[in-house]
Point group: C2
Chain length 449, copies 2
């Protein structure tokens, strides 16, 4: 759990809060957090980050130091600072549970609260949901590409800071990644940790054999990194080692981190099998992404598991989502932004998910109070500032995600763009509200101009 | 300052530590952190992150909970856990100061310590230096593109987690970004904070005029966001507003966040000037990156300042650097990895920087003990586990960066790829060591094979 400081907010949220209060604007507002566009490199997004938002919001308090800092800015009177000193969030939050496949325009999270309170959450909510959904969505592709072979997270060193590494490890695990190299992520989230040796370990000894001796002496069931000098020579050495040791030989596997991984794995597998070492597994790593993994899986059944680093940790092909936190309703009045490119839909919403006979996902975007066939995706999770759904176990979120991904149309689980496999349509009531708000805004534009 | 937990390490660092200790390998090693390749989208990298590494390393201690977690993994005997319980880093660190332009193969940081101690720092050091150098290097381009116009960081909401947002704001400031929207970054680092209002504020009121009234009532010197409905109509309204108010009108500026920013800024400027409102500034934001800013600067002198978000916060075109932490020496013996693609250079190093007559940067990569003409870039910052250089003031790092960037060759300060404007050559002594280690490794490979 990340319990972020209340000051993780944009200054403009606080200037707006002050102005709202001084203008007597205490009306209830609804803000909706959603992704505007799905990039062609993603067939779906896997929701993640909502649980951290709920924890953060329910613990959100300004410390005396925070208040002193705000005072130092010279923009806030004591009356406002007093209000902030006593601030706690009193609103409600509905959200799509973590581990759910989601599509553009579908609210990942909706906040209902007096407008100044809802405004305060903007930077925090966008940051947590966008980064973690980004991570989970990338990892889901990598896990799908591995077709059941275990995938481990080796990327914490290349993540954008520590939080990204930690929440990344959690999001990857939600998406089906089995283990992480990072000890803190392992401790914090209970994710299995993995790792044995780096090239530097082999280089630190006078010979590779001495390095393997040392690692085996301390960790008999280790995985040996065999590509420091000559991969297949190291595999031959391993076979000699196994024969010499007899039953005392318990090395679990070898790791290949460079070269033609498919060819090396195939040759190593053949050599190991011929020597009777069928139980020695082959791990592959080194600059892998979902496309490379798909290629390796197609070329070589010899690779048993993958370690993935940078590509997953920074979501390298899509390093940010087009995600927004938009006012959709105030005082019961629908609100929308009219712009050819950035049109928004008014009103608090719900999404009902159904599957067509051919597997196509047919999501219906409607007003929050509507009822339709299918599974409603948004769930009330916070009311009057308190969580009403407990934080689920990570394993439950992971199971939910696995089941949901397994139920997606076949195309959507591949790497090629298949945006035709889902449709998000709007209900007649939402359309009617949209038209009515459009008319209102257009009339206002005219009167303003 | 970020004081990270000791457990921000990869499991393999600890398995190697145990194996080193049990093999009696206490020899002094040197690890070198450097970038292997400069992407064509960057003409230089701006070093950043080293100060956080120094703080983290000098405070690195394992808590009782950390030890209990390590015990729970079932891979570490009590003798090793006792050692970790009493662990503190005793080595030395040399590094290139933050805010220095750097190039491939140049060590950003070198750690000298008993090999198990040096190994422990890997994930932490790579994470902090790669992310912050990535951020600073992207921001430097954006600041250069703005040609003296102020740039503000609006991106904390799209950063990969909170740490990325905070260390990003700091790195952007080092690179010349003037202000941040994030209050916590402002408080933590003393960076000026900026921000007034979002579109939601305008939409929350019945009319744009009422929203502007409210903001102006609370913040007379505000910046009004004028593109919610019709940008130029809002500017006309502002002019009427100014005439009505007379001397009480103190609005500082307007912000444009959508549409044809160059054309809108030009028209708005003309209208404001004609009305005598020459003091009202024009801020531009909305999906900007260095290329868009360069285009706007070329097209329209009317834009006074820029707000930049996602592109800077995730370094969208280069979301990760090819950065490594490599063993280069152990027990005084040079170490290198021999591979056509990933060749490393052995030995602890220094870099001497000189400028050719035509401005080209001629960096000499040499052994740490060598002396050559030019400015030595690496400085000893930690000895026997303690900092020997105090953490510099952020403003000093920023000034150093500004001076260094101003001294770069003209081409390098543009956006087009100009990798010909620097050369990194190796000294004869480094070359001799490289050949000798190559021979040794080649002999060993042969004897192993």
């Amino acid at each position: 759990m990340i319990a972020p400081p209340a000051l993780f907010a944009d200054l403009y949220s606080l200037t707006m809060m002050r102005a709202y209060r001084e203008a007597g604007m205490g009306e209830e507002a609804v803000f909706s957090l959603y992704v505007r566009k799905l990039p062609p490199e993603r067939n779906f997004l896997l929701s993640c980050g909502v649980e951290d938002v709920l924890d953060a919001v329910s613990n959100l308090r300004f410390t005396d130091d925070d208040i002193a800092y705000l005072r130092s800015l010279g923009q806030f009177p004591e009356s406002f600072l007093d209000y902030m000193r006593g601030f706690s969030f009193k609103g409600s939050i509905r959200a799509i549970p973590e581990g759910t496949p989601v599509f553009p325009d579908e609210p990942l999270l909706e906040v209902t609260a007096p407008i100044d309170q809802a405004q305060l959450l903007e930077a925090m909510a966008i940051n947590l949901v966008q980064s973690q959904t980004l991570f989970a969505s990338k990892a889901a592709r990598i896990v799908l590409a591995a077709q059941g072979r275990p995938v481990a997270d080796f990327g914490s060193r290349r993540a954008h800071g520590f939080d990204a590494a930690l929440s990344g490890a959690r999001a990857f695990h939600v998406a089906g990644v089995g283990a992480t190299s990072n000890l803190l992520a392992g401790r914090r989230y209970g994710i299995p940790v993995i790792g044995t040796m780096a090239h530097s370990f082999v280089e630190a000894f006078a010979t590779e054999a001495e390095a393997f001796d040392a690692m085996e002496a301390s960790f008999p069931e280790t995985v040996l990194l065999v590509d420091t000098y000559d991969t297949l020579a190291a595999v031959r050495d391993l076979i000699v080692r196994a024969k010499t040791r007899g039953p005392a030989f318990r090395v679990r596997g070898i790791r290949l981190d460079s070269g033609d991984l498919a060819a090396l794995a195939r040759d190593a597998r053949a050599m190991l099998d011929e020597a009777g070492l069928t139980g020695v597994s082959i791990f592959a790593s080194g600059g892998l992404d979902e496309h490379e993994i798909a290629r390796l899986v197609a070329q070589s059944p010899a690779i048993d598991a993958f370690g993935v680093g940078t590509a997953m940790s920074v979501s390298n092909d899509v390093p940010a989502l087009d995600i927004v936190y938009k006012l959709v309703s105030i005082g019961g009045r629908g609100v929308m932004k009219l712009s050819s490119k950035k049109k928004t839909l008014p009103g608090a919403k719900q999404v009902f998910r159904r599957f067509e006979d051919d597997g196509t996902i047919a999501d219906l975007l409607c007003l929050a109070e509507e009822q339709h066939p299918g599974e409603p995706l948004l769930v009330e999770m916070m009311r009057d500032g308190g969580r009403i759904t407990p934080r689920p176990a990570l394993s439950d979120i992971r199971d939910r995600a696995a089941a949901a991904i397994a139920g997606l149309p076949e195309n959507m689980r591949g790497l090629a763009c298949s945006h035709a496999s889902f449709r998000v349509t709007t209900s007649p009531k939402l359309e009617a509200l949209t038209r009515s708000v459009e008319d209102h805004v257009a009339r206002m534009n005219k009167s303003e101009a």
